[in-house]
Structures are given as structure tokens and as C-alpha cells.
């Protein structure tokens, strides 16, 4: 669906974006998130406990063709990806927590993805491409580390990098949404309402349940918003890679479709959620008297 050049371009863009995200962080942010690991643990439970369950319920209750149901289950079992970090950044969430959640859910995924699939899809025999998992971590952690170092060396270079990275991220989000539609026009026309529902609501339910779960466990609203985005936003490219490696022919086409459709709608859903979260963040800000101080 995407050519090698486009893939390289996207990878480069994500690298620069994550460089900017990293420049907004300090080692102390990570230390704090690690010092209070509840958020992290809640994230892993939410990621591998709720999401596959949501996927399973929809696969069973909705009238979906079998390839679509399989694709839905696979996407719902994925860890979080860089996209969730970007949206966490824009929603003024806890970016260090988001990055750590992505890292843990990705590493845990090696073991947990087969386990949850065993539970929900009765031993659907999938090939988990370790190189893709490693690539996910590299593309995430190396630029973040470089970004943090840049900021440490020179606050101005850090701030400029962050500015550029976030500007590119906005472009990236718009680019994904806008370029996707014409490339998949026929596919959009052929897709049934039930499939649409599943692809859209997987993200919506994931974000909503992640948020409610985190709030029930009394996480700070900022961390709850982070868990919500991290839960709802899956690493769809990883799902697509797994499907491409495991299945072939028309079966592959059908299963991959859910991943592609999800990728489009999660960007739209997350943008709306981010705007809501930003507003909530502003509303929660302290109201200082009108004098300068």
C-alpha cells in the first residue's frame, strides 16, 4: 500500500518528530514516571486487558466477515506506538509516561500478544516479527535520547528542535488523514457499515475505557489522559507488518484492511480527543488574580 520511498520518508519524519518530543523532556521526567510505577502498570493492564477484550466483543457481536474479525482482533492486541506519544504531547499529557508505556507495552508484547491471541482467537498462529518490534523501539528511543541531550547541551537548540518537531507532527497528522482517503477511495466505498463501526469504535472505546479505568484508580487527570490515549492508539503499522508476514493473498488483503481503516480513523478520533483534553487542561489551570502576580 505504501512504497519504499514513502516508507523511508515517513520513518524520517517520525524520527524528526520524536527528536522534538525528546527535546521537551528531561531525564527527571522519566525518573518520576518510574518512581511511581502505578501509571505504567495501569497502562499495561489497560493495553492488554481491555483492548483485546473490546476487539473480541466487537468481533463476536458485530456482523463482520471473518478476515475483518481477525484483523480487528490483531489490531486490538497491539502495543502503543509513536502516534500515541505525539497526541499525548499535544494534549499536554505526561509525555515521559507515554513513552515509557509504549516501551513497556512493546517489550511485553513479545510475550503478551501471543497470549491474548491464544485467549481470544484460539491459537491463531501468528508470526511476530522481532525486527519490527526492535525497529519500533529504536525509532522511538534513539531520537528521544538525542532530543533530551540537545536540550541539556543548549536550551535554545532544544526549544527550536521541539518547535520544529511539533510543527512537523501537525503536518504529519494532516498528511496521513488527507493522503489516505484518495489512495483508498474504492476500499472506502466497498467497506460495510459494521466494519466502519468496528474500526472507529475500537479507538473510541479504548480511549474512553482507558480514561475511566485510570480515573477509578485515582491517577492524576493528566496521567489518566495519557493512559487513555496510549490505550486507544495502537501500533497499527506493527499490526500491518504482522498480518503481511502471516497471511497471504486475498485473505491478507481482507485482514489488513481493518488495520488501514483503523489508522485513518484513530488519527481523526485522537485529534478530537486531544482538543477536548487540551480544553480540560486549560480549565484545570490555576486562576491567578488579574495582576501580573
Amino acid at each position: 500500500m505504501v512504497g519504499a520511498f514513502e516508507q523511508a520518508l515517513l520513518a524520517a519524519m517520525i524520527f524528526v518528530i520524536m527528536l522534538g518530543m525528546g527535546a521537551s523532556l528531561t531525564p527527571r521526567d522519566f525518573w518520576l514516571a518510574l518512581k511511581r510505577p502505578q501509571g505504567l502498570m495501569i497502562g499495561v493492564v489497560s493495553q492488554y486487558g481491555f483492548m483485546p477484550f473490546i476487539g473480541f466483543i466487537m468481533a463476536v457481536t458485530l456482523d463482520l466477515p471473518e478476515p475483518i474479525a481477525i484483523g480487528l482482533l490483531i489490531v486490538s492486541c497491539m502495543p502503543g506506538g509513536t502516534t500515541s506519544n505525539i497526541f499525548t504531547y499535544f494534549s499536554k499529557g505526561n509525555l515521559a509516561l507515554s513513552v515509557l508505556m509504549t516501551v513497556t507495552s512493546t517489550i511485553f508484547g513479545v510475550v503478551l500478544i501471543p497470549v491474548v491471541l491464544l485467549i481470544y482467537a484460539s491459537a491463531l498462529d501468528l508470526t511476530i516479527p522481532r525486527e519490527n518490534i526492535i525497529a519500533t523501539l529504536v525509532v522511538l528511543l534513539i531520537p528521544v535520547a538525542i532530543g533530551m541531550t540537545l536540550r541539556k547541551l543548549n536550551a535554545n537548540i532544544g526549544a527550536v528542535t521541539e518547535f520544529m518537531g511539533s510543527a512537523l507532527a501537525l503536518f504529519f497528522i494532516a498528511f496521513i488523514a488527507v493522503s489516505w482517503v484518495p489512495r483508498n477511495w474504492q476500499f472506502l466505498l466497498d467497506t460495510t457499515p459494521a466494519t466502519y463501526f468496528a474500526a472507529i469504535m475500537l479507538g473510541v472505546f479504548g480511549i474512553a475505557i482507558g480514561y475511566i479505568f485510570a480515573r477509578i484508580l485515582r491517577l492524576h487527570p493528566r496521567n489518566a489522559r495519557t493512559v487513555a490515549l496510549e490505550t486507544g492508539i495502537q501500533n497499527a503499522p506493527l499490526a500491518i507488518a504482522i498480518i503481511a508476514l502471516t497471511f497471504a493473498g486475498s485473505e491478507q488483503q481482507g485482514i489488513i484492511a481493518v488495520g488501514a481503516l483503523y489508522s485513518l480513523f484513530i488519527v481523526i478520533t485522537s485529534t478530537i480527543v486531544t482538543l477536548i483534553f487540551r480544553r480540560a487542561n486549560t480549565a484545570a489551570e490555576q486562576k491567578l488574580p488579574d495582576s501580573l502576580l
Binding site: T26, R28, L32, R151, A155, N156, G158, A159, V160, E162, F163, H220, R222, E285, Q286, K287, L288, P289, D290, S291, L292, L293
Partner: protein, 573 residues
């Protein structure tokens, strides 16, 4: 008075000079140049924006630029010694350059609140009659309105990211223009601050002008700053602070601020420099100490301070109750309290004991309260390090006498309440062109503060009341007369009275009592009307509509009755 009458000296540390016999420098230009010689290339000021973008000037750079700007003011703009120069900007790198240039040019600095409305600016300009205005571009759109009656011949425009490296400066400029839309085109003829500095440099090279010539005739007793304040009647007037007032007060304060090392400190300056507390203590005090000053243009919301706390090892900060209280409620601040802070100083408004306690719990470092007024440059008392007393404004700083007087002007017996009067080298020369107003607050060489205090046997002072009707909103003085004058210009308002009421966030808040001409008038109407004419902090937070206001026999509105009723009601709740 004898030494016996100054029991507070027992609380001075072993290195504190009880009397400042002679100030370290005669005039501010001497001080500025002398300090720059010592610390040359060390960073003096770093302006930190909310996203972490920053610009830094060294001691030598500030010295050289302010030299050049002083030459511009005198040679190009044609100002003479003693001419007033208004400076109107938030904390930014242009501020120290502009303020120091004014002193070096032998001129008088007029600090103007950048958030003032055009009307408020006009009133101050009419009184001070500045020959030049150095203003931030964000607020320059108010200048045509503010100077309609009294044009200011020279206008110099600066910006928030002035003297930043080109990349962040460019980004900030683009964001301000196209995203925030906070910079409007400037209609009046003007020159940009860097261009004015360049013009001054060119002049220096060509005509071999010596900046020191401008300051040669300055005397310690010459006026350096006109610091505007409302006073009892609310008539805005400029307190004439001399070179000696400012230098001595900075030294008096730093005598008691022990534990800071020359050339090693990093101060957070989130309070605005146009306010006398930050001006004397942060700007002048940390310059003299060879410290690095982190200038925060806008501390609201408080998350704007986060990058400054993350990126710099802040060792000292000043603030008002509101700031310390606000920071104590920010999650990020609780998560990562500053690790290198030695202590913090509070002034401007009463520091609440609960706030101080909470702050000290979070940072593990003391929060010391001081007290002073615009008219006293400003510091009169401070709590000595390690000997703080909750709820007290501390003990008099060196070379300062404090007495509590009765109505007749005699000292009250120890332990009884009286009006706080102060005598010392920091007391202003008087109000600018208002001898009548000066006479009201001076009794011989004693300055009457209008605050009612009690002095303990050992010299610690507590404020118990205020004689004036003034309201202090988060460190800013609000004068009821000014607000009432504004209220009655609304066609729907028959009569109005304004008082201060206790407020959890700002210490005190402005409350208006209004007798309406028509019944349809709402609080929102009143506030909207005020917003057109007054700075935000002066706008009544609440408006209560009444059928009548309490009045004396001669028809004077009794604010004290309204205040008493209000306090009784609060107590009942």
C-alpha cells in the same frame, strides 16, 4: 533615639552591619559600571520564555549596550540631565539595558506598568512629562491614544525576544505575529531598540563621547526613579527615589539576606521589574551581587515557569504570596521542587502563614517575609534567616528606625497598635511636583506608612490594619477613589463605593457597592465598563447592588462601615 530603642539588632547575624555608614557607590552609574568591571563575561540576565527559548546578556554586554543607548538618548534624541524617560515593558532583556541607560544618561527613569490602559498611561505621562518612551511592541498600539494630549518626542520600541539568538528570535516573532496576533503595527514614528543602540555606538565612535561625562555631575541625592503610586487619596503621584535611596536600600536588604555568594547565584525574577520590590532587590541587588537573573516575561499561567525551573539551577527567588501559593499547587512543581534553592523572599503583600508553611514543606527551604512601600525604595523590614517569625514582617533592616505612633504622632506604649512610621536613608525625597501630598505623609524626617502595626518587645513587627482605604490586590495597590470615579462614569450608576475584601487567591480583592439608576444593570455590565478604562487587577471582582450607601453627616460615603459589615458577614459564614 538611643541604641536601647533598637532591640531588633540582637537578631542581626554576626556579619550584618547594623548601620550602613556609606553606600558602596555614590550613584547608580558608578554601581553599574563598577560591577560590570568585576564580572565582565559572566551571564547577568537570561530571559526565559515558556517553551525554554532564551537569550542571555553578560555584565559587559549590558554595560556596553546601556552606554550606547545613553549616548543615543543624550546626543541623538537630545535629552538633557534630569529629563524623564518612561520604560514600559514586561521582564525582558531590554529592561536592564533601558533602565541602566537612563541612569547613565543622567536622566530619570519612570517605570510604567505595561498592562495599563491608554487612559492610565495618559495620566502618568501627563504628570511625569517624559521626553522619551521605551516600550514593548505588544503594547505600543496604546501609545497614540495615551499621548494624544502630551506627545512624547522619542519612542523606542523593543520586543520580548530582544537580544535572543536569531533563530529563536525569529520563531518568537513569527508566533507572536501570526499565531498569537499579539503584536500590532505601530503607527507613530519610532526607532527599534537595537537601532538606537547602534546609532549610539556610531556616535561614540565618531564624536568620542564619554558616557561618564553625563554622570559626572550626578549627586547621590539626585532623583533616579519616579515610581508611581496612588497614596491615600488615590491621586497617582511619583515617589522620587534618589540614587542613594536605591543603592542604600539594596544594601540594607542584602545585609539581612545572608548566605548568598557573590558571582554564584541564579535568581528567578518572575515579579515584574517595573514594581519597586523586584526593581531594587532583583534587578539592582542581583546585579551588585554578580548573580544571574532569570527574567520571566509572563508568569501566567504558572506552567510558564516550568522550563526555567527545569533548565536552570535556581538558588534564590522572590515573589508575592500569590506566586508561592500558586506554585505550591502546581503538580509539576510538587513533583520536582527546585533542588538548589537556598531560600526565597516574599514581599508586596501579606504572606499567609499557611502558604509559608506549605512552601517550606515542599522546598525544605525558608520563605522570608519582608515589608516596605514604594516611598521607601521599598524595603523597611525583613525576617532574618533562621529567625523567622510566622505572621511577622520581621525586624527593621540596618540604618532603619521604625516606630508605632498614635493619632497625635507620639510613640504608643510597647505592644500597642499604632501607625508605622519609618526613618532611614531609603525614605523618598518626596512626591514629584506635589509638596502638599508629600507634607501629608512626612512628619519631620519620619515617613508615615498608613499601616497600623504592633512591635513586640524584641523588635519584631506585625501589621494589624491599614489606615488608608487602599486595597492590595496581589501586591498591587488599588485606590478606591480611582475605581469609584470610573464606576460613576457608567450612565446606569448613581453612586458607588469600593472596598477591599479578603480573598484566598489574591490576599485582597476589589469589591464594589453600586446604587443603580436602572434596575437592569448587572455585575457583568459593570465589569465590562471597568475593563475599558482600568487595568485588570483594578476591576471589581464582585459587585453588590444596594438601594443606598452608608454616609456620614456631611454625606461622605463610609467605606469603613461597608468593610465592617462585609467582614462581619464573612465571619458569620
Amino acid at each position: 533615639m538611643e541604641d536601647a530603642a533598637r532591640p531588633w539588632r540582637a537578631f542581626y547575624g554576626p556579619h550584618v552591619r547594623p548601620e550602613i555608614e556609606a553606600a558602596s557607590h555614590r550613584t547608580l552609574p558608578d554601581l553599574i559600571g563598577g560591577v560590570a568591571e568585576t564580572y565582565r563575561s559572566a551571564p547577568a540576565f537570561t530571559c526565559v520564555l515558556p517553551n525554554g527559548m532564551n537569550g542571555t546578556l553578560s555584565f559587559a554586554q549590558v554595560d556596553e549596550m546601556s552606554d550606547a543607548l545613553a549616548i543615543y538618548l543624550r546626543e541623538v534624541a537630545g535629552l538633557g540631565a534630569g529629563d524623564r524617560v518612561a520604560v514600559q515593558m514586561p521582564n525582558a532583556l531590554g529592561f536592564p539595558v533601558a533602565a541602566f541607560a537612563v541612569f547613565k544618561a543622567g536622566c530619570v527613569l519612570v517605570n510604567v506598568n505595561p498592562l495599563y490602559t491608554a487612559e492610565e498611561m495618559a495620566r502618568q505621562f501627563e504628570d511625569a512629562e517624559p521626553h522619551a518612551l521605551i516600550i514593548i511592541d505588544m503594547f505600543a498600539d496604546k501609545v497614540p491614544m495615551a499621548t494624544r494630549g502630551h506627545p512624547i518626542p522619542n519612542i523606542i520600541v523593543t520586543r520580548v525576544a530582544e537580544f535572543f539568538p536569531s533563530m529563536p528570535r525569529g520563531i518568537v516573532g513569527l508566533v507572536q505575529r501570526y499565531w498569537d496576533k499579539s503584536v500590532a503595527p505601530i503607527e507613530l514614528p519610532h526607532i527599534r531598540l537595537p537601532d538606537a543602540i547602534s546609532a549610539g555606538r556610531a556616535h561614540r565612535a565618531r564624536d568620542h563621547v564619554e558616557v561618564s561625562d553625563y554622570g559626572a555631575h550626578l549627586e547621590p541625592d539626585d532623583v533616579a526613579v519616579l515610581q508611581y503610586t496612588g497614596g491615600t487619596t488615590g491621586v497617582s503621584k511619583g515617589a522620587m527615589l534618589t540614587h542613594a535611596n536605591l543603592i542604600v536600600n539594596m544594601e540594607q536588604t542584602f545585609e539581612l539576606i545572608e548566605g548568598l555568594e557573590k558571582g554564584k547565584e541564579i535568581a528567578l525574577t518572575a515579579l515584574p521589574l517595573y514594581h519597586i520590590f523586584a526593581f531594587t532587590v532583583n534587578l539592582l541587588g542581583f546585579w551588585a551581587l554578580g548573580g544571574r537573573n532569570l527574567l520571566i516575561p509572563n508568569p501566567r499561567p504558572l506552567s510558564n515557569l516550568r522550563r526555567a525551573f527545569e533548565n536552570y539551577r535556581i538558588t534564590w527567588m522572590s515573589g508575592v504570596n500569590t506566586l508561592f501559593n500558586g506554585l505550591s499547587n502546581e503538580t509539576w512543581f510538587l513533583d520536582t521542587p527546585p533542588r538548589h534553592l537556598k531560600f526565597a523572599s516574599a514581599g508586596g503583600m501579606a504572606l499567609q502563614a499557611a502558604v509559608a508553611e506549605r512552601w517550606e514543606g515542599i522546598t525544605g527551604k525558608p520563605l522570608l517575609q519582608g515589608y516596605g512601600l514604594t516611598e521607601t525604595a521599598p524595603v523597611l523590614t525583613f525576617n532574618p534567616l533562621g529567625k523567622t517569625r510566622a505572621g511577622s514582617i520581621g525586624v527593621p533592616v540596618p540604618s532603619t528606625e521604625i516606630a508605632c505612633l498614635d493619632e497625635a504622632g507620639h510613640p504608643v506604649p510597647q505592644g500597642e497598635a499604632g501607625e508605622i512610621a519609618a526613618r532611614g536613608p531609603q525614605v523618598m525625597k518626596g512626591y514629584w511636583r506635589r509638596p502638599d501630598e508629600t507634607a501629608k505623609v512626612m512628619r519631620g524626617d519620619w515617613f508615615l506608612t498608613g499601616d497600623i502595626g504592633v512591635m513586640d518587645a524584641d523588635g519584631y513587627i506585625r501589621i494589624v490594619d491599614r489606615k488608608k482605604d487602599m486595597v492590595v490586590v496581589s501586591g498591587f495597590n488599588v485606590y478606591p477613589n480611582e475605581i469609584e470615579d470610573c464606576l460613576v462614569t457608567h450612565p446606569g450608576v448613581l453612586e458607588a463605593a469600593v472596598i477591599g475584601v479578603p480573598d484566598a487567591a489574591s490576599g485582597e480583592a476589589v469589591k464594589a457597592f453600586v446604587v443603580a439608576r436602572d434596575t437592569g444593570l448587572t455585575q457583568a455590565d459593570i465589569r465590562a465598563h471597568c475593563k475599558e478604562h482600568l487595568t485588570a487587577y483594578k476591576i471589581p471582582k464582585t459587585v453588590e447592588f444596594r438601594d443606598a450607601l452608608p454616609k456620614s453627616n456631611v454625606g461622605k460615603i463610609l467605606r469603613k462601615d461597608l468593610r465592617a459589615a462585609e467582614l462581619a458577614q464573612t465571619a458569620a459564614e
